[in-house]
Symmetry: C2
Subunit: 234 residues, 2 copies
Amino acid sequence: MTTQVRAPRGRPAGRGRPSKAAGRDLKETILDAAEGLFARHGFHGVTIRQVAAEAGVDTALIHYYFGSKRELFDAVFLRRAEILNTARSVSMDAYVKSHPGRMTVEGVIEAFIEPLLRISQDGGQGWKSYFALVAQVNNTPAWGGETMARFFDPVVHRLVETLKIVRPEAEYRDLYWSYQFLTGSMMLALSETGRIDSLSEGQCHSSDLNAVRARLFAYCAAGFEAVIARAPKD
Amino acid sequence: MTTQVRAPRGRPAGRGRPSKAAGRDLKETILDAAEGLFARHGFHGVTIRQVAAEAGVDTALIHYYFGSKRELFDAVFLRRAEILNTARSVSMDAYVKSHPGRMTVEGVIEAFIEPLLRISQDGGQGWKSYFALVAQVNNTPAWGGETMARFFDPVVHRLVETLKIVRPEAEYRDLYWSYQFLTGSMMLALSETGRIDSLSEGQCHSSDLNAVRARLFAYCAAGFEAVIARAPKD
DNA sequence: GATCGATTTCATCATCCGATGAAAAAGGGC
DNA sequence: GCCCTTTTTCATCGGATGATGAAATCGATC
């Protein structure tokens, strides 16, 4: 109603050299700042002015580079999504090819999850913020669904199809439901909310992804097997 | 910095009769409207004016009853939390008493989760919104942790202690991690984001809590057992 | 039906928000 | 050292937001 089509005005052409890559650095700085803030407070909990202050730039510069606040958010989301999908795809490829005729449910699940754990451990704070952001979007009914679907559905279908090869007798319904349980666990673990730290009175730390790795694969694999074995008819 | 202490001005005394309970009805109407909006768009994505419009009241009335926007949110969160805790506590009591010496991991987990599924199915749209709200808070690093902990930690400790009775050899670390995986799955299922509908191309529906019930208990129980059996030392 | 407290409405404030246009600065290419 | 594009800053706009004080209305009690 109040939204009207805006002319994106002066978008940098992209062709030609960006002079000295100084602009590109600044763009990344803005994305970093926005990423951290969005991850902590959500889309509506962050103002362009906060992002600008955090990045040390003028607010107008953010509009110059990204257009609107929503486009900035999308840029943040997009930046790492492709890397993520590639890493997962490569991991699944490697597993499938290295275990011909000998794939296991747990092996497939590990190939699906492990890249995210590794990236979160090796990728620095930016990736940790990003995972918290994705977890938040995943639980946002309003517009989270479409955003998640667009970027992550293909690799999920890949997971389900691979599991179907390992367990041909499994119903797709059961595989999709099991996947949803898996993604709920995985996203909560990756977002490192700190909940488990206080809950366990210091016995567990949400930042300890080695502890996650040592349990999550087995947990999810056993869950899949149990659901497949039970195979409810509904 | 910009936040300054506000005098909460005219809080209704609470004692005495609220005349004709008309005020109480209006209060509930406001809470209902706020609940639905907060669940869909999050705390920062909702304005007092939207809540007022949805409830059909003046914005000043919301401040009269609840003080600030944040206090309104807390009131929304609080309203159903106690009912939830009571239902779960009763369910766990009943299971423990009815299965002396014969408790199973799946039975305990079912006693822990089933009340939420039943309430969501029988409680109407308000409860569905509420679960979506809790799921969102659960994934909010900024202030979700403390809010969740204050209201839901006791019943979680109850779950862990009961499981410890069923599997005395289990390490607490493993039980807490397994619980985190469980809560991630459970919250995502209860929030009914619709993700699985499009992902499965219509084969599953996130609103079908019977399908969840038929799989989630078995999935989580098998996960717990696998983690306990593996017992990583870290 | 006058009184008095509880409830509801009205008008408004100070502030902040996203966004934009215009001017200034930076930086090569020649 | 000028020209032209890109980048950055500055000043500001129209509107929305949370919140509040004061006035009006309601409702029970005497």
